[in-house]
Amino acid sequence: MNNIDVLIEQSPALIIAIPLLGAFLMPLVSRINSTVRNIFGLLVLCLTGFFVGMLASDVLANGPRLYIFGAKDLAVPMVRILFEVDSMSIFMALITMVLAFIAMIYSWSFMKDHDGLDKYYTLVLLLITSTLGMELTGDIFNFFVFLEISCIASCALIAFWISEGEALEAAFKYIVVSAIGALFVLFAIGMLYAQYNALNIATLANVLKYTFLDKIILVLLVVVLGMKAGLVPMHMWLPDSYGRAPPSVTLIIMGATLASFYGVVRVIFTLYGNVLSTTMRFSIPLNVLVGWILITLAIISIIVGVAMALIQSDLMRLIGFSAVAEVGYMFLAIGAGIAALGTPYATTALHGGILHLLNDALDIGLLFLVAGAVYYVTKKRSLDDISGLARNMKYTTVFFIIGLLAVAGMPPLNGFASKFLIYESVYQLNPILSIVAILCSILMLAVFVKVFYAVFMGPELPAFKNVTEAPKSMLLAMGLVAALAIFIGLFPNLVIDALVKPAADALLNHAQYIGTVVGGI
């Protein structure tokens, strides 16, 4: 066994350990000076990203990989934690790393003038650790622990601009929602443990019998994780916290939100994978019921997100509401994939949904970065106070146009690729769903064209006569996202074949996930 194999074998642990160690070294490193601190942050991310990349190449080639913390043999059962990495987890980890990189580069000049940055970077690295942990873990209690860490870290980051009352309000709202949510996840985990004497997702999935308690557990887990992902009845925390967090960390918080979405998908497809075809009352199979509930909520999410975005006057809050709509699109695709499980278009829907995870992160992320740049130069949030910025901020304007076209699903940008897959597959399930989705996508375009005119066009205000272009590191971060958006838009097949198809196969083929643990020891 050569060195590379050893590194790959240890990488699931290292991916968690490196940013965690980096987070707690950060206050020490910050004592030296700010440049060293920024380079140290990037270095930690580079190292983590290197291991994520190596693990990704291995997992995509050789199938799921197991990492065991604690007892290797089964003589002392339960005294261990498993990390199980399959193509879906590693896809999520890659998204998280991309977002983290961009946010880190962006923070370099965006947060320059603030103090308390040692704590800021510590929290950022902690949030990245917890997001990666949620995505890589194969143990449901471990998932809860990382969920709580991400809740604490993101709450502290949302309240980072503590001099604004609104930031505190948003943070309090966020922590109430996530603390209660996490406690109900723990309650559900307790019930799972009580029935099956196991905490491992694969072991649980193998023995799950779909008793009455299991129905309650399914409802609790899907509701709570859906809430943390921003699904509609409980979406109200999302625009508040996205809108009030420093825009440089919104991307990373979005990564944590997507990890909750991953949790929903993992619970339905893997944990309940064996019982999805169980017939319920009135001879409705479970997958149809769950799928249609998700589809209904998703359609409401899309409509509410777009409609609320129309009437907002605060730029970042507006983008927050369009993020709710984008989450709706992902749930729509996943719901269609579950409801029509087994048909060819269900697989297409899954591909669309999983690709949209990446695209949503990039598009909404790009818009938040642009909104951050606008806030950086003008110190204003409201659309009514900003006007005519295109004269002095050429690059930012171009990036905003790319972002708005991508988020509205216009070709040739990435939003089109995934949304087209979603429309195409959902149409075969029910044409009305597809029509609503397309209509809302067009409305989204209207919303952002309005924003574009308000912010970048229009008369030049005297207050902004001397505004300059955003600093270089912010432009670099926006440019990277825009380049990725255009690249995925032009060559969607590359990404779909390389990453999305294996991820969808990993979800559909839950027997492999279970077999890796149960048969592989």
Partner: protein
């Protein structure tokens, strides 16, 4: 019947906590509500691991005559509870510090008056 009483207590605690979170107007009372839910969930985990007449699951200091492992209560739920308590303390501290800062900014703890974000 008697063995169900702890579970009834758990459900009651969770509902009392939820009531406080949903219907109380004072931020401190909302925080207390969340703490009550947390205690309910922790109690639930502890009950799961309980065996009648079991001793504490410390392997090296088992009392003479206990059978291993049948004579001990289950160790895993206790480990889970410890973890959950530690996390709970962190969340509680964070929430209380937020409440403190909100009171400084708004001069009130009434949720009806703390709604600058509603537009």
């Amino acid at each position: 019947m008697i063995e169900y009483i702890p579970f009834i207590a758990v459900v009651t605690m969770i509902f009392i906590g939820l009531y406080a979170v949903l219907f109380r107007r004072n931020l401190i009372k909302i925080v207390i509500g969340i703490t009550i839910i947390e205690s309910g969930v922790n109690l639930f985990l502890i009950i799961l691991g309980y065996r009648e007449g079991g001793v504490a699951p410390i392997f090296t200091s088992l009392p003479a005559g206990t059978t291993y492992p049948a004579g001990m209560v289950l160790p895993v739920p206790q480990a889970l509870t410890l973890t959950s308590i530690v996390i709970g303390v962190a969340v509680l501290a964070l929430m209380l510090s937020l409440v403190m800062h909100i009171y400084r900014k708004y001069g009130t703890l009434d949720v009806r008056k703390i709604r600058r974000l509603k537009e």
